[in-house]
């Protein structure tokens, strides 16, 4: 019988939060692209794999120091995502392609990336660094590892950074405008294409960070990213399409629910939790969870009658 004691609950909370970090990063990347570019970017799986293997090659084959390796990974991912947007998506957009075709295109791109990486790197599972164990300290009965701290820190910094960017920076506000209505934004002189590029660029940063954290802890093979992506997709759906931070919150919540679920169900059923949530969402929110409606209603309520 599993003891419901405070230390165990606290440990699950901490470890759950720490391991939700990379999921949050992947979810934000996915949700941002969806919001701005209006694309269900299944090519993100390919970009995630590319990010990992670029860093992997830099660390293990070129023997570069970690910071340089991450920068290199970021550059490669950026290049790949921008090439994807400029040469792939723009062409399809110009042809008014249906969303099914876009979906197939993004998925096939991810498949191509997975095969190409298998060709170059083989399929032996490999973590980013030779050792996957990081130093651990016990604080008040809870095991806190260096990796945990790094994960939480990186995620907080990047997420808050993005929030500030979207709210305060001009380019960020332009992105929001394009997300709301691209045609209207263009009328005001905002370059939609630049906003799309910027969205992909930011997504690349989040993807790289996420894969760094993930790869430092677990071994990766070229098809790992597709599995990780599905979580991001579902979290995006739950958080409300078009709501990046709602999606991030959903990612954390889903992660924690999954972690706590071991208290009540056998661990092999953990993977099903995510799908159960999806099913509930479909049943009760057949048009998708639309949170922007709530925000508008709140604002209307607060504004004084004028």
């Amino acid at each position: 019988m599993f003891m419901f004691d405070a230390v165990v609950l606290a440990q699950i909370l901490w470890t759950g939060l720490a391991t939700s970090s990379y999921m949050v990063l992947f979810t934000i990347a996915f949700a941002l692209v969806l919001k701005v570019v209006k694309l269900w970017n299944f090519a993100q799986a390919g970009l995630m794999a590319i990010a990992f293997y670029a860093m992997f090659a830099a660390v293990n084959q070129f023997q570069w120091p970690t910071v340089v390796a991450v920068a290199f990974g970021l550059l490669v991912t950026l290049a790949a995502s921008l090439a994807f947007e400029i040469y792939g998506l723009r062409t399809l957009r110009a042809r008014r392609t249906s969303s099914l075709m876009f979906f197939i295109f993004t998925l096939v791109c991810s498949e191509f990336a997975a095969y190409a990486l298998t060709f170059i790197f083989g399929t032996e599972p490999a973590p980013l660094f030779a050792q996957i164990v990081s130093p651990v300290r016990i604080l008040a009965g809870i095991a806190v590892s260096d990796w945990d701290l790094l994960a939480v820190a990186v995620t907080l910094v990047l997420t808050i950074g993005l929030a500030l960017y979207l709210r305060l920076a001009r380019e960020g506000q332009f992105m929001v405008a394009v997300a709301d209505n691209a045609d209207l934004a263009e009328l005001y002189g905002i370059n939609a294409k630049r906003a799309f590029g910027a969205a992909f660029a930011i997504a690349s940063v989040f993807i790289c960070a996420g894969m760094y954290l993930y790869g430092a802890r677990t071994a990766v093979i070229p098809t790992t990213s597709l599995q990780l992506m599905l979580f991001a997709v579902i979290a995006t759906l739950l958080g409300g399409m078009g709501n990046v931070f709602g999606a991030a919150f959903a990612a954390v919540a889903l992660s924690l629910v999954q972690s706590y679920s071991v208290l009540v169900i056998p661990s092999r059923w953990q993977g099903l939790i995510v799908y159960a949530f999806l099913f509930i969402t479909i049943l009760f929110f057949p048009r998708g969870v639309n949170t922007s409606g709530w925000a508008t209603r709140l604002r209307v309520r607060r504004a004084p009658a004028s």
């Binding site: 197939i104 998925l107 498949e111 298998t118 799309f196 997709v233 999806l278």
Partner: protein
Amino acid sequence: MDYLYSILILVGIYVVLASSFNLIIGNAGLVSIAHPIFFALGAYTAGLTAIHFGLHAIVATLAGAVVAALFSLMMSLPSLRVSGDYLMITSIGFQLGLLQVIKNVEFTGSQGGLSNIPTPVTGPYRGLVYSVVSLAIAAAVVWMIRWIVRGPYGRAITAMRDDELAFLALGRDAMRIKIVIFAVGCGLAGIAGGLYAFYYQYVSPEQFEILASAAMLTMVVVGGMGSTLGPVVGAVLLIALPQAITFLELPPGIMAPLQGMLFTLLVIVFMFIRPQGLISPEGPTPLPGHRHGNRSGPR
């Protein structure tokens, strides 16, 4: 010779899958990706009923089709009120969720798969008999779909796909048509599942993941969405071409990824130079800007 038969049988199975998939997404415009799960449901049902109840292969396969069609209702009833992106994502969730259940439940053989499915045909002519049956079923399915699409029902489906608003304005019931088409398409996938189960005598959950969806989508897209022969061509190409490449005697370590790379590259190139697929859809094509009832917007 047996090797050739196994290819022919696979071609037959995938022609049924691609054609039924095309019925759903090409003809009716329903963006569901979950086709492999109905294939799985048919295969597992056929296998389980044969093992535990001793049903004959034909009856078991029909049972598989019925189960697949029933499960399609589970998906279509809640989510067909919406279309486009949302349906697409929920169909993925449905497929993978159901797959998770199959992988964790004892009676399906869980992760290890369902093995020792009895075969109705044994002996030296097994391969021949199965190929004939498989190709005959494939031909029948293609013909049946063609008959549906060409008839008055088919015109209704096309009208609904091209402009659902107008269709509804004319007083037609879009929901009912969607549910029926979906059930028919999924039922046919179930038949393919039965065929598969009795030939290979082994069903494992690995074959029905997202990559299976991608493969079927590719067949339909490359072959030509919305046309009758398009999915047939797509299925034949996707099955025969990789097999042909394996005979090139490349070092095995690089053959699988190289095969995959060439293939996906082919699909990508295809999507750009001939997006309508090898075989253009017959009948009226949707007006530009009116793609499957979706809002046009940046992608």
